[in-house]
Amino acid sequence: MTTTTTAGAATARRTPPSDKPMVTFETANRRLKWALLAPALGFVGLMIVFPLVFTINLSLTDAFGAVNAGNAYVGLQNFADALTDTRRFWPAVGRTVVFTLGAVVLETILGLALAMLMRKAFRGMEIVRTILMVPLLATPVAIGILWMLILDPTNGIANHLLGFVGIPPQEFLGSVSQSLPTLMLIDVWQWTPMMTVLLLAGLTTLPEEPEEAARVDGASGWQRFVYIILPMLRTTILTALVLRGVDALKTFDLIYATKGPGGGSDFEAETLNVYAYGLTFDYQEYGLASAVLVLFTLFIVAIVVFLRRRTERSAS
């Protein structure tokens, strides 16, 4: 082993031995690890932990008007107010669940169908893939405005086209009863391509032998899909469901752009996110809004934990 004598080392030899333990490689390595992690930890602390702690703190106060205007702590009162509110909070929870389930289930079915169609190469596939990606590239607000123009009950082209096939004019986003289903369909239009891409990626990694063996044994296409492909694709489907499900739960811009504050005149499209935004920016009730957001976060975390456990169990 070669040792290099430096001026520092020479000085060290002259200094009296200290009681401090020698710095081992492991210790230095451990310190270096923390030094390298520090920027990431700082970022997480500043961008995630601080806002979360701030929101939790705010949810325990009666903050109204201005965030820092001498607010008093009210304990869990805001949580109690939210959880006993049957006029806005619980209907918003219901709509959030309906919107998410409806949109994600449809997107998964359609995405899987498209992925199966695109599994084998065909002429013009690149063009189809490019067209399929277009809705993903636009912002939800732009998409909301676009669909508002298309679906306008009086001037929109949708009713014009429906008239050609004898369907009477619909109110779409202008209707109290049709708004949520219409929004779900717009979401399906925008996000099905993402499910297709994710599921297509999963399909391309599947081994071909089991399906070939089933084909030789005389299994039909549907049987091969149900008994061979679907079980092998389960982990990918669950992962896609988690990703899209969490995203769909948080949908805000599309709803706000098309229905405005409160999700429409009868709160018909008011999800938890829209409700929390309204409490914050239309009502300036920061304490209650923070409590709703904390409950919403817990709700999302519970769903993610549940789905991840399902994924892990399925994978094992």
């Binding site: 081992t24 008007g65 306008d152 229905k259 429409g264 005149s265 009730e285």
Partner: protein, 437 residues
């Protein structure tokens, strides 16, 4: 294997010293900087995207020369503006100097939060500014807790827009609300996509326009501090408005605000439309309107209590309490709301709030004559508010708008109004508590 330890060289920082230095640096970075503005900093105006802002922007070199500093104007929509103020002023931002605020929507809350500066001494201590020249209603709406906190720059009333060609057989514009309903019902051909009447129907968005119907039926949002939305007069107004849109209006009316209703009239698909007089130019612009030759303007029709429209200051100027350029900000306000500037802008079609300007017929020359006359009559009869005068206006509008939507949907208004009335009374108790500055 152990690595050789390197002893600290002269001038090298110990870990503890380094930590102290880092902490001090962070504290220094977090501490407030100098509380004076950079001499080269521009005066920042955060304003509504409105014809007033576009017009005043053309004259900015005048004020830039006067205050010796560049003026930077940023325009946003009303919702974006309120959200931006909420976020920026909650953080005591100094990068906004002059704000356009809605005196009937945001001002009271902003004043309570300590976000807008008290201008009382400035407006009253400057004789040349002639504060008393402002019309009484807009002047009253400029105060919060007895202090002047804004100066009005744009006023607004409802106007009845109607198709002259279609209403000729009925003797022109209806004089009463009853006549308006009859004509709307007679002219509508909903199956063919033509409507007798179009107007706002969104829960909160429609409240301001509905207010004129409410007053003309003899009601008001509040009576002596308590809810007035379940009185017979208010229910009659709710039912009338609901019937007008349900029986003679377009489909999807409950999702209609200004942005949805205006194009229907502009494209010739409705016979009558009541909305703010400030939007009249949209119907004269041939690039977006097919009714530019046939549109007529009339005062608000009379109800059982007469013609009682609203006459309000829709936009005012305020100074950010945290601004480092308060004197220059006041210089901007003084210039933008001076008698000369208000006269100039009103001559360009933007109604101001100074009585002396309204008294000069020359400033109304750019308006179509029938619109100028309608504005004059509505201003004379007008009430100074178009929404509940409370701290939390957004929530109040959501409550009082509920029976309005029920009416448009053809539901029983009285029962919904009774429920909304109880909710509104509960709300008023809480709102009054929050008014304690």
């Amino acid at each position: 294997m152990s690595l050789p330890t390197s002893p600290r060289r002269a001038g090298e920082l110990s870990r503890r010293s380094f930590g102290v230095l880092a902490a001090m640096s962070v504290l220094a970075a977090c501490s407030r900087g100098p509380r004076t503005a950079d001499p080269n900093a521009p005066l920042r105006v955060l304003a509504i995207n409105h014809v007033w802002t576009q017009a005043i922007s053309r004259y900015l070199p005048e004020i830039e020369e006067r205050i010796g500093r560049r003026v930077s104007v940023r325009m946003l929509t009303a919702d974006q503006l309120t959200s931006t103020f909420n976020v920026r002023l909650n953080a005591s931002a100094t990068d906004i100097d002059v704000m356009t605020v809605r005196p009937l929507q945001d001002q009271l809350l902003f004043a309570r939060n300590g976000w807008i500066a008290d201008l009382t001494d400035r407006v009253e201590g400057d004789a040349a500014y002639r504060w008393t020249d402002f019309q009484e209603a807009p002047r009253e709406r400029s105060t919060a807790a007895g202090n002047v906190v804004s100066v009005p720059v744009v006023t607004e009333r409802p106007a009845l827009y109607y198709r002259k060609d279609l209403l000729e057989d009925f003797g022109g514009a209806p004089q009463t609300l009853d006549d308006m309903l009859d004509i709307a019902l007679e002219l509508q051909r909903r199956s063919e996509g033509f409507f007798g009447y179009v107007g706002r129907g969104q829960r909160a968005g429609a409240v301001t326009q509905w207010s004129s119907f409410l007053y003309s039926f003899g009601g008001d949002f509040m009576h002596e501090g308590r809810s007035g939305i379940a009185t017979p007069e208010a229910i009659a107004a709710y039912e009338y408005y609901g019937r007008l849109l349900h029986d003679a209006g377009p489909p999807g009316a409950t999702n209609m605000s200004l942005e949805q209703a205006m194009p229907i009239f502009a494209q010739g698909k409705a016979a009558m439309y009541v909305d703010a007089d400030a939007i009249y130019s949209n119907f004269l612009d041939t690039s977006i309107s097919t009714v530019s030759d046939t549109v007529g303007f009339a005062p608000f029709p009379a109800g059982p209590a007469g013609s009682v429209p609203h006459n309000i200051p829709s936009w005012s100027l305020a100074v950010n309490e945290f601004s480092l350029l308060r004197d220059d900000s006041w210089g901007f306000l003084r210039w933008a709301s001076s008698p000369e500037m208000v006269a100039r802008l009103q001559s360009e079609g933007i109604p101001g709030a100074r009585q002396s300007v309204w008294d000069d017929p020359a400033t109304l020359a750019s308006f179509p004559p029938d619109l100028a006359e309608a504005m004059r009559i509505n201003a004379a009869n007008g009430v100074g508010h178009d929404r509940p005068e409370v701290m939390q206006v957004g929530r109040a509008r959501d409550i009082v708008g509920r029976p309005l939507v029920s009416g448009i949907l053809g539901e029983d208004v009285a029962s919904v109004a009774a429920d909304a009335d109880a909710e509104f009374n509960d709300f008023l108790v809480r709102d009054n508590r929050q008014r304690e500055f």
